[in-house]
């Protein structure tokens, strides 16, 4: 929970160095109908110029709706969209300096590649010679030189993606909105294409707001990422922030894998110098672990530990917390494998390079500094 303050202070620092191109203030969208659904719930954030900002979250968390509100296709129930200092909440989509890369790409089948890329410029009344020049430039950026007179249905999936991106880039918009444009690709291709998106984004200096459900890919390329849950922001931060300091159980679980179990903590100095069995009593944590806890206070919380932070050891006197269990299953991932260990605290996933057999009795060692402490009541109510 301490990360909230962190976020605010880093945001202030950034504001001094970079220009804010897009600001979203208390955006709320309630869809009517038989049952009212709050798709977007009081969402506020800022996008800086030249930034690659991702919005991730499970399906139905309101990611696309936010993007469609920013583009002007969906009217927000409350809140405002400020683009380059101007409130555009009531501006129709064709008068907004944002461009969207659609989920199904939405390339115009009645135009060739050049016609698609030039479409936006033509609407702005850019003269033909200038248009052609810009199209050639864009074809170079997406490395499809000489493809200008190809028909859309003659292109491969990857080529279409790049044309769709060029169609956005050519207008040099304040923000390019990417609405899961790579969702149809398989994982490997999606990773390649995302890296390419990042490369083009860096080269052109454009600002990307990228919506995806693939958190791994998003974390790999984004400057900052917004984690969305049920239409509300759970956390905004760099990939490191999200991974190292998840603000909630949800973020911890969504961004990378995390073991979760309930346990008692007692606030002390933090570092334990002795070896303890985890089942023997409360864990001693530092006062910074959870907001609002006094020294000496005891509380039942949710503890999160990443699989690679757990070691399989012979029980020793080394300081740390120990837990015993039996190997339940093992999945190989090339170099290492993930072992599921049945313990008194439920099934714990451990990343290890050791080869183990099913049923093997093992001892797990936890280092207290790798514990993520979440308030059980407030975050999982």
């Amino acid at each position: 929970m301490e990360s909230l303050e962190d976020q605010q202070s880093t945001a202030t620092e950034r504001r001094q160095t970079a220009e804010i191109v897009l600001e979203v203030q208390s955006l709320t969208k309630v869809f009517g109908g038989k049952q009212e659904v709050t798709a977007v719930d009081d969402v506020s954030f800022e996008v800086e110029e030249g930034e690659f900002l991702s919005i991730i979250g499970p399906s139905g968390s309101g990611k696309s709706t936010i993007l469609h509100i920013i583009a002007g296709f969906v009217e927000p129930t409350a809140g405002s969209v400020i683009l380059d200092g101007v409130d555009v909440t009531d501006t129709p989509p064709f008068d907004r300096a944002t461009n969207m890369m659609f989920q199904d790409l939405a390339l115009f089948p009645n135009y060739d590649v050049a016609g698609n890329i030039a479409f936006g410029l033509r609407q702005d009344g850019v003269p033909k010679a200038k248009r052609q020049e810009r199209v050639e430039e864009m074809l170079r950026v997406i490395e499809l030189e000489g493809y200008g007179d190809r028909k859309i249905d003659e292109l491969s999936g990857g080529e279409r993606q790049r044309v769709a991106l060029a169609r956005c880039l050519v207008k040099d918009p304040k923000v390019i909105l990417l609405d899961e444009p790579l969702a149809s690709l398989d994982r490997r291709l999606r990773q390649n294409m995302t890296t390419e998106l990042k490369r083009i984004q860096e080269r052109t200096g454009s600002t990307f707001l990228y919506v995806t459900h693939d958190q791994e890919v998003a974390l790999a390329v984004s400057d900052r990422t917004i984690v969305l849950k049920d239409g509300a922001i759970e956390q905004i931060g760099t990939s490191d922030d999200l991974y190292q300091k998840p603000a909630s159980r949800f973020v911890g679980d969504f961004v990378g894998d995390m073991n979760m179990f309930e346990h008692d903590i007692v606030v002390g100095d933090g570092a334990t110098q002795q070896s303890h069995r985890l089942t023997n009593g409360p864990i001693q944590v530092g006062p910074e672990s959870l907001n609002g806890l006094q020294r000496g206070e005891e509380k039942t919380v949710t503890i999160g530990v990443r699989p690679h932070h757990i070691e399989i050891v012979e029980e020793t006197d080394e300081p740390g917390y120990y837990l015993q269990g039996a190997v339940e299953s093992q999945t190989f991932h090339g170099k290492s494998s993930v072992v599921n260990v049945e313990t008194d605290k439920g099934v714990i996933a451990v990343e290890t390079t050791e080869r183990l057999d099913l049923g093997d009795a093992v001892t797990l060692r936890f280092t207290p500094s790798n514990f993520h402490v979440f308030d059980t009541e407030t975050t999982y109510a």
Partner: protein, 307 residues
């Protein structure tokens, strides 16, 4: 018992062998395979389309029925008689007018259905409903509506200022209205299909790239629903050119169309050769319309394999 079983088995086996051999033989001979697949439909086409039209063409070039000596007399009569030329011209004008009105109305209705209707299927049902009523009956109902003192006149009477009671029945307007009414549903269906099939995100993309609603329609919606429009044009143009019942029932003596002329030749004065030349004229018209529309690329006569 066992011998009976053996016999049936043996018969089955030999049938199996023969059919296998037959299939093998067919597979080896390409022309035979093609013939079996395409033959029946070709036979139907030749028997019921190519032969009759050829025969009609032959009669139109002869001076007597069933067959006389070859002459161009029928065609010369058609071109040189002023009243016939006028009928052809009138038919052409009415066909163009009908097609334009049908396409405009049908597109508007189809667009509304495809984009906004919550229960498009129900609307579609009501559009198809008139087809269940006989064509003649539908024209009779129009006749009653256009009648002096009919529905339209009664409606006009409700407007206090207007004392107008124009003659409606047996006018060109009535014929045009009747033709539009007849072919509107036929045109709505292909248009609805092509508008509904169009990817709606194309419209969003156009707006996103800066096109206002009118430009979006002209640059994106219209070109991407072109196929449906062309089919609708065909489906209203071809039957209108040969229309017979509607002008006969709703039009006056000055609103006669080619259809009535043909009927007159065959049913009243039995001039089969001249009637055939009129038939050839309408067939040529249909052929030309088809050629032009395929050239425009609108009618996918055969689906492309790679699509």
């Amino acid at each position: 018992m066992s011998t009976a079983l053996d016999t049936t088995q043996r018969i089955q086996r030999s049938v199996q062998t023969y059919s296998d051999e037959f299939l093998q033989a067919v597979r080896k001979r390409r022309w035979l395979k093609m013939g079996l697949f395409v033959g029946p439909s070709m036979a139907i086409l030749v028997l019921f389309l190519v032969l009759p039209i050829s025969y009609m063409f032959l009669i139109s070039l002869s001076d007597a029925f069933p067959l006389g000596s070859l002459t161009l007399e029928n065609y010369l009569k058609l071109i040189q008689t002023e009243s016939y030329v006028r009928v052809i011209w009138r038919t052409s004008v009415l066909t163009v007018q009908t097609t334009i009105l049908v396409v405009l109305f049908a597109y508007a209705i189809a667009y509304g259905m495809a984009m906004f209707a919550k229960r498009a299927n129900l609307v579609l049902f009501f559009i198809i409903l008139p087809f269940w009523v006989n064509y003649l009956v539908r024209n009779f109902s129009l006749l009653v509506i256009f009648l002096d003192g009919g529905a339209i006149h009664q409606l006009l009477r409700l407007v206090p200022v207007i004392e107008l009671q124009p003659q409606l029945l047996f006018t060109r307007t009535a014929v045009l209205a009747g033709l539009v009414y007849s072919f509107l549903p036929v045109a709505i269906l292909p248009m609805y299909a092509s508008i509904a099939r169009m990817d709606k995100s194309l419209i969003m993309a156009a707006k996103d790239l800066g096109a206002d609603p009118i430009r979006t329609f002209l640059y994106v919606t219209l070109p991407n629903t072109k196929d449906g429009i062309l089919v609708a044009i065909l489906l209203s143009m071809i039957p209108t050119f040969g229309a017979f019942v509607t002008p006969a029932m709703l039009g006056g003596p000055n609103d006669r169309m080619i259809g009535q002329l043909i009927e007159y030749q065959f049913m009243r004065i039995y001039d089969v050769p001249f009637g055939s030349s009129l038939g050839v004229l309408t067939a040529t018209f249909v052929f030309l319309v088809l050629v032009v529309s395929t050239r425009l690329g609108g009618i996918p006569l055969i689906e492309d394999d790679d699509e």
